[in-house]
């Protein structure tokens, strides 16, 4: 497993590397994970970054560590109150889950541990931090999750303190189909190091199949903590430690039976197209049954959906590569046919750089290799977004005489990941059902009408009576305010309207009626006002005070939600002054435009300059009055 080490990617000389590989080569994963933590713990000061980096790669894939008992720790003179602080900044819940289980394991190992969202970390208190593990994902286009924004601002700013006392490590979550892979995690480590902090275990970067590497990382964190931190004093500890844990989790951890790894098989009860005839969008309303799952959700949460690739697509790929559908592949010690693997276990619709390069090598297609090599990041992202794997193999076929084996194929493709969908209902109103609003994704650029795997599976292949594998993705960053009298400004475009349907169902069921203002955008009023009947009913009933729509193609010049905001600047400002909360849900681009419009409005309505307005927006975010759910 140390063959990742090379003289050119590590501080070692070739002889050192040879002996390292010789002596370490036959350690099993858990042993080396343990060792890494141990070494890191011994090191005074940070290990060289490149070492951390390369180790990081080698660690990815470490298995669950059999927890060492605290006693097994020989030499430590722990200071009073030394605690392991586990922080997470998570948008869709993956990182939060990882952080939770790390904290739980640490407690079982008898450590004093505190679990916190970065949202509640006061930058000032950084100075007192000694041992911290950060789990942080990347969102937007290389941006940190909202919860980490304040910390990043602080660390980048002039006021940031020196953090010589802090020893930390980072788990970076990401997705290689995006341009800036794990950017937020890398940046966080960089910023902390720049303030004099040191890493006690190498950073690990995870692609969407993060479970294994994450467990490896947790193992090394634990082994370090066990080796260096004070054990808790027996029985009382769990409670003590659990207190902050509960305090900082704004969700009661769900009926943990069902998870991303063990999804619930939900019965489909309704699949209904909700865009009108001759709309250029195919948006569907789905009703699934959670009956018997014990899953309870809140409006604002999302549902994770596992969707298989379409048979036709798989056949097309196998035909193009001349691989027999029943060719055997061994994945985590199980034999599968390549057909099964491509259907259930691999990404065919979303490419990544690795897949493109991997395939170029396998196929020995120089044209592809050279072409991709000379693209810049921007161009590579476009290249990826405009192609699916099947386009790749048809546009850049195998070189003459080259054959690709089933296992080779499986190895260049990324593991299939679930997709998230905002929940469009409230259990207060639909009980054990969960509703989704799904737009069939037609792949941009692709010549044939290629569709996205999950959206087309949900919209085109499911019918009432079928089953679909789902799990809850809590999102406590996008909830109704505790104070149900807070005015709500609900901004969305396209399927971004989904969570607001849940919000209003909830309010209606509770009988609470804050001032509400829906701002929605889509191409055409006649066909694309999603759930129009319900919104009009709500307006009639008085629960919805205003509906402002921007139908982009209903007039000569395009009109979007940000235009509505500017037109309605006076009212917007007035609502904000009355303490309104502003929600934004939908596409990333829309989110950006809306924030710009919001700034402009603050400038014009309050006579601020852009800097002040930007600060105003940041303040709204800190106060939790500007909430975003963008994808």
């Amino acid at each position: 497993m140390f063959n990742a080490l090379r003289a050119d990617n590590s501080p070692f000389t070739q002889p050192q590397i040879d002996s390292l590989q010789q002596s370490l080569g036959n350690l099993d994963e858990s042993q080396s994970a343990w060792l890494s933590g141990f070494i890191a713990g011994r090191l005074a000061g940070p290990p060289s970054r490149s070492l951390g980096h390369s180790l990081g790669h080698s660690l990815a894939g470490a298995a669950q560590l059999p927890l060492p008992v605290a006693a097994a720790n020989p030499n430590s003179a722990p200071a009073e109150g030394e605690r392991l602080q586990v922080f997470f900044a998570s948008q869709t819940g993956n990182g939060e889950g990882i952080a939770q289980s790390l904290a739980a394991d640490a407690e079982r190992a008898g450590l004093v541990v505190e679990l916190k969202s970065l949202a509640v970390l006061r930058p000032a208190s950084l100075k007192k931090l000694e041992y911290a593990a950060f789990v942080i994902s990347t969102h937007g286009e290389g941006d940190p999750p909202d919860d980490a924004l304040e910390l990043f601002e602080y660390l980048q700013g002039p006021r940031a303190a020196q953090l010589g006392q802090l020893r930390f490590c980072v788990l970076a979550l990401g997705d290689r189909s995006y341009g800036k892979f794990c950017e937020a995690g890398r940046k966080l480590e960089h910023l902390l190091l720049a303030r004099g902090a040191s890493v006690f275990a190498p950073r690990v970067e995870c692609d969407i199949d993060y479970e294994q590497p994450a467990t490896g990382w947790s193992a090394s964190v634990l082994s370090f903590a066990v080796a260096n931190l004070a054990p808790g004093s027996g029985q009382v500890l769990p409670k003590l430690a659990l207190a902050p844990l509960a305090a900082h989790l704004s969700v009661v951890p769900q009926a943990a039976r069902w998870s991303r790894a063990r999804p619930f098989s939900a019965a489909v009860e309704r699949v209904q197209k909700i865009t009108g005839l001759d709309s250029d969008k195919d948006v569907f309303h789905l009703e699934l049954s959670l009956e018997g799952s014990g899953i309870t959700y809140e409006p604002g949460d999302a549902l994770g959906v596992w969707a298989p690739n379409a048979h036709e697509l798989v056949d097309e790929v196998l035909r193009a590569l001349d691989i027999a559908a029943d060719a055997a592949v061994v994945l985590d010690d199980h034999r599968h046919t390549i057909h099964e693997v491509l259907i259930r276990k691999r990404e065919l619709t979303r490419l990544s750089q690795e897949t493109v390069q991997g395939y170029a090598e396998l196929a020995q297609n120089r044209e592809l290799g050279n072409h991709f090599a000379q693209l810049d990041d921007e161009q590579r992202r476009d290249f990826i977004e405009q192609r699916q794997f099947v386009d790749l193999v048809t546009d850049f076929p195998l070189a003459a005489g080259i054959r690709v084996s089933a296992s080779e194929l499986a190895s260049v493709l990324r593991p299939l990941a679930p997709r998230s969908y905002s929940i469009a209902s409230s259990q207060a109103s639909v009980d054990e059902q969960v509703h989704l609003t799904v737009a069939t994704l037609y792949a941009p650029g692709s010549s044939k009408k290629r569709t996205g795997v999950a959206s087309s599976f949900l919209n085109q292949h499911l019918a009432a009576g079928d089953e679909v594998h789902v799990f809850l993705e809590p999102n406590h960053r996008f909830r109704l305010p505790e104070d149900r009298t807070t005015p709500l400004i609900l901004i969305s475009a396209g399927t971004g309207i989904a969570p607001y349907r849940g919000f209003l169902q909830q309010l209606q069921a509770e009988g609470s009626s804050p001032a509400t203002w829906l701002i929605f955008g889509n191409p055409h009023l006649r066909t694309d006002f999603l759930y129009q009947r319900e919104w009009l009913e709500l307006r009639k009933s008085g629960l919805l005070d205003h509906i402002d729509c921007a139908f982009s193609r209903d007039q000569n010049e395009k009109r979007y939600v940000q235009h509505v905001l500017r037109e309605q600047g006076a009212r917007l400002n007035q609502w904000l002054e009355q303490g309104a909360r502003l929600y934004i849900c939908g596409g990333l681009g829309m989110g950006r435009e809306v924030e710009l419009a919001l700034r402009d409005v603050l400038c014009s309505e309050r006579g601020l300059d852009t800097g002040q307005a930007a600060e105003c927006v940041a303040e709204l975010r800190r106060q939790g009055r500007l909430l975003k759910d963008l994808y």
């Binding site: 209904q272 197209k273 909700i274 865009t275 009108g276 005839l277 309303h285 009023l525 006649r526 066909t527 006002f529 999603l530 759930y531 129009q532 009947r533 319900e534 919104w535 009009l536 307006r539 509906i547 402002d548 729509c549 139908f551 209903d554 007039q555």
Partner: protein, 570 residues
Amino acid sequence: MSDEKLALTPVEGIKARSNYLRGTLLQSLADGATGALAEDDTHVSKFHGFYQQDDRDYREERRRQMLEPDHQFMIRARVPGGICTPVQWLALDAIAQKWANGTIRLTTRQAFQLHGVIKRNLQPVISAINDSLLDTIAACGDVNRNVMCTPLPESSPIHRQVCVDAQAVSRHLTPHTTAYHEIWLGKKRVAGTADTALAEDHEPIYGATYLPRKFKMSFAIPPRNDVDVYAHDLNFIAIVEDNLLSGYNVAVGGGMGATHGDPATYPRLADVIGFCTPDQVLSVSEAIITIQRDHGDRTERKHARLKYTLDDHGLDWLHTQFEARAGFRLAPQRPFSFTHNGDRLGWQQTSDGLWHLGLFIQNGRVADLAGATQLSGLREIARILQGEFRLTPNQNVVISGIADRDRAAIDALVEQHGLDSWNRLSPLRLHSMACVGFPTCGLSMAESERYLPELVGQLESLMAAHGLAEQAITIRMTGCPNGCARPYLAEIGLVGKGPGLYNLHLGAAFNGTRLNTLYRESVHEGDILSVLDGLFAMFATTRNDGETFGDFLHRTGVVTAGTEQGKIGQ
């Protein structure tokens, strides 16, 4: 007497609150969340000439899609006397292409209708129609509607005089409110608040709540009864003596509308109540309209038409009321007679030597269809026509005022675009008429415009089998009992009752002087065909020379009881 103790209808409240027909139309138009108007405004809008509808073919689908109904609007343009210039035709054609469903609908009252206009296009459409010097105000609503006039009598001078009178009445009875110009033509809003607006707006004839119900007028020039002069509230029958227009017989209290299963509602033929001179037409109209304004029933819209006011109070009462208001008595009516209530199609020459070509437009729907590109054809004709278009009361169109030398050019276009059907189709089809019905009409219970052509086809073969292929029979279908195609004045009347179900009425007079009689209730196509097959057989074998189908059915006692009319005057 409309009983004061009874509550006024909600519509009366809406009219009263509307501030001379403004309502909240401007807000309704500005509401971007729906393609509909606010409920109250859907009543106000009628006075401006448009109806809120939805495509009923998609109602159910859109309900499942959680979308509102496919709201769209029918816009009616008034064409007094049915006379329209080629320029106006071209304008309307362009509007239909750009903003409506690409067809023009000729109505049974000699007007135009456009369908499928969506809310945000209402303003452009209405102002464009006004630019063409047609208008839409009072095309619908509780006011006087488009004034009808026989489009093509033999004598042009008479026609000209009668048209002048018809158009004068139409102008005289057009609402005065400035709301229309304000909302649609962007004329500056009447200064000040609603109240000062009230002060500035006034309706000398109608008053602030207008009429209890729609009010309809027609001018007929015997022997042609194409306007169905007995079917409307107030009618003028031209009396021509020595080729001079000496005046009009006045007929009041006609109407078709009825409601299934409600005997208090019924079609009624107008009563001829006397004679007036041309210069008295305006005062006669004003007197009759104000009688209806003050005494029509505002507590029950189904009972609000003049015909019921008349039956409630009696003719003597009417004469007293009339004299009090007009300041004179009507002279005794003068003799006249009608020969037919259909259109005369094909080429005809009038006394002034000009030629006129009556074209058959099936159910008034001018469209481009495979084989018959009638919409394009009429566009081409409009581009070269020196004369004018005249819309007929039977949903057809006359190309009017053609000089001898231009006939060939017209004939060529007519043939090229399948407009020559008048000399190819059966007399039955040429005498057929259906209301709009599905999918746009909100009141239809059964198919009408989309179905009658097919049914006529079946009847044609039955008639052919009995050697009646050349027999003219008036056949009219409506999707509900409101009677928009005046079905109760057809020898064969079919009135929609439910999907695929019709009431079969038989035995009206070919000249529109006798109502038909309900013969079979709620019958399917099969029964309709077999019943008529039998009657055609009898008719073919035992009719008298020149006897019409309706008269035959009465003589042989197949039907009785149809209200006699029009003998008055002989």
